[in-house]
């Protein structure tokens, strides 16, 4: 949560990052790079979703990958077993994931901290177990293939580049909605509950409603991300949705800046690419993350976003001081 940043600066940083993401496919244009970029956007949506619960409302529920699995499978099933279009899959994913998220938010009314974290791990394990073992519905460990691609005005989104821009539009809309929510009454209610739940109740905030709303919003965001992911991959199986992948989302948010939407975007973007760069290390890349997290927490608990904000201030002060100096001379 770290330090505060004015809205204007936050908006500018978010805008710049989105512009960079918009041109990224032309800076990195081979097939592999564009494939990775698609995953970057999916992760950006997921980390913004996690930020609603963990960053804004301060609830240590870390079940993102469980919701992501549910959401991906809903779109997969709707477009294959039911044979409906991607858009129906998207709608179903959003609704069903939001409902699941709401239900898993209910225990936060009684549990907190450690117990909540433990419960999220249990949720993830149960979810992947169900996906593996309910073969009649999910096809078990073999997964589901031939998931439908989106069709827009009769045009099939087939290439990675087209898919990237579809995801980019959705990501941008979701990111902007997230900061609008942050600045609204609801955003203030989330943060009040996070800072001091009792004090929040005393100023008239219904903490129960606030927490559940954060979970529902998170579910909606994961719903969109999962639908896009399933459709982009065209094939999904339970082993993608691992606890290890889940811990990456937390790393992304903490390193980018807990409680900050542009921080979530930056963290997800940098770490998704870093993971690709570190592929040669196999599982040991997590070691690098651990070190980066520790350094972040020691030197800048607010994450990269705070560091970025301070850098901008520093540059600005340099730029404005120079002319005055000249005048004095």
């Amino acid at each position: 949560m770290g330090m505060r940043m004015e809205n204007k600066k936050r908006n500018i940083i978010l805008f710049v990052v989105l512009v960079l993401l918009a041109v990224a496919p032309y800076l990195f244009h081979n097939n592999y790079q564009r494939y990775v970029l698609n995953n970057v956007l999916i992760n950006v949506m997921l980390v913004i979703a996690l930020n609603f619960i963990l960053g804004f409302a301060g609830q240590v529920f870390l079940g993102t990958i469980g919701f992501f699995a549910i959401s991906s499978y809903v779109t997969a099933l709707v477009t294959t077993t039911l044979g409906m279009s991607f858009w129906w899959g998207l709608l179903a994913s959003v609704v069903i994931t939001a409902v699941f998220s709401f239900c898993l938010g209910l225990p936060t009314l009684k549990l907190s901290g450690f117990y909540l974290a433990l419960m999220s791990t249990g949720f993830i394990v149960v979810t992947t177990d169900v996906l593996k073992n309910w073969s009649s519905l999910t096809n078990g460990v073999w997964g589901i293939s031939n998931i439908a691609r989106p069709v827009i005005f009769g045009h099939v989104i087939s290439t990675d580049l087209q898919f990237y821009y579809l995801s980019f539009v959705m990501t941008s809309i979701l990111a902007i909605i997230a900061i609008v929510i942050e600045d609204s009454r609801f955003g203030r209610a989330f943060k009040a509950v996070r800072d001091d739940q009792l004090a929040a109740e005393i100023v008239g905030i219904n903490a129960t409603k606030a927490k559940l709303l954060a979970f529902i919003l998170s579910g909606v965001y994961v719903g969109v991300a999962g639908a896009l992911y399933a459709s982009f991959q065209r094939f999904i199986s339970p082993d993608v949705f691992s606890l290890q992948q889940n811990s990456l989302f937390m790393c992304m948010l903490v390193i980018g800046g807990l409680g900050s939407v542009p921080g979530a975007v930056i963290g997800a973007t940098l770490l998704t690419t870093l993971t690709e760069v570190l592929r040669f290390m196999r599982e040991k890349y997590l070691l690098v993350y651990a070190v980066v997290i520790i350094i972040t927490l020691i030197y800048q608990p607010g994450g990269l976003i705070v560091f970025l904000g301070q850098t901008i201030d520093w540059v600005k002060s340099k730029l404005t001081r120079q002319p005055r100096l000249r005048k004095e001379i």
Partner: protein, 238 residues
């Protein structure tokens, strides 16, 4: 009809009963104080009024409506604001944001909200200077001012203050009490919980003395000031 009325209210923390058939009332326009030693049950009484602790028997009425059993948010909306024990500012929010969130339930009257913000900032220049700083960086005394301002923001009919003078320097206590009097003169009734019986009785119309979760004594401020028991226990003897 009293604005706030507690009738035979009992409350417990698990197996420990902390309030025994507490009855008290606050009329419109009044300042009523609730005094008592550490552990007497003052904060417990405040918690039952603000809905943060359920009562086990009795009833609490506000403006004629039963509020016991309702959520805190509903009680704030009904018109009760509270300065809780230990203040509890939102440490990560700025001073201005802390004030604004005090008006969370009053969306209607923006002009009045702004007027209250201005009043609070003008009354406490320290807060004005630092209005864009995180409230967690304020001193204890400054936080006390801020929370008083935050409680005003919901434009309540009744304000419940749990030891607003705790840990304040005497000059600041006086200033805080001036503000409380001022709030009262604007038409807000006040239930003032205090250890500082001297100061509390000086601005109150009536008072209650709590001991072991029960009312031991009640009466007008004058009566309490001259009562042997209050003099011995809370006003430093003589």
């Amino acid at each position: 009809m009293a604005l706030l009325e507690l009738k035979d209210v009992s409350a417990s923390y698990g197996a420990i009963q902390a309030l025994f058939n507490l009855s008290l009332s606050v009329n419109s326009g009044e300042i009523v104080c609730l005094i008592g030693a550490n552990g007497a049950g003052k904060t417990t009484a405040v918690r039952t009024i603000t809905g943060t602790l359920p009562i086990t028997s009795g009833e609490i009425r506000f403006n004629g409506e039963q509020i016991s059993g309702q959520r805190s948010s509903a009680i704030v909306r009904a018109g009760i604001a509270c300065v809780p024990e230990g203040r509890r500012v939102f440490p990560e929010m700025t001073i201005l944001e802390n004030l604004e969130i005090g008006g969370f339930i009053t969306r209607k009257d923006r002009e009045k909200s702004q007027a209250i913000v201005d009043y609070v900032l003008d009354t406490f220049p320290v807060l004005k200077e630092r209005r864009n700083q995180a409230a967690g960086t304020l001193s204890g005394g400054e936080q006390a001012m801020l929370v008083l301002g935050r409680a005003m923001m919901s434009q309540p009919k009744l304000m419940v203050l749990d030891e607003p003078s705790m840990g304040l320097a005497p000059v600041i206590v006086e200033k805080a009490f001036d503000v409380i009097k001022n709030i009262n003169e604007q038409g807000t009734a006040i239930l003032l919980v205090e250890q500082n019986a001297n100061m509390a009785l000086a601005i109150s119309t009536r008072g209650y003395v709590l001991e072991g979760g029960e009312v031991k004594l009640e009466g007008s401020a004058e009566e309490l000031k001259s009562s042997e028991m209050v003099r011995k226990l809370y006003l430093g003897g003589s």
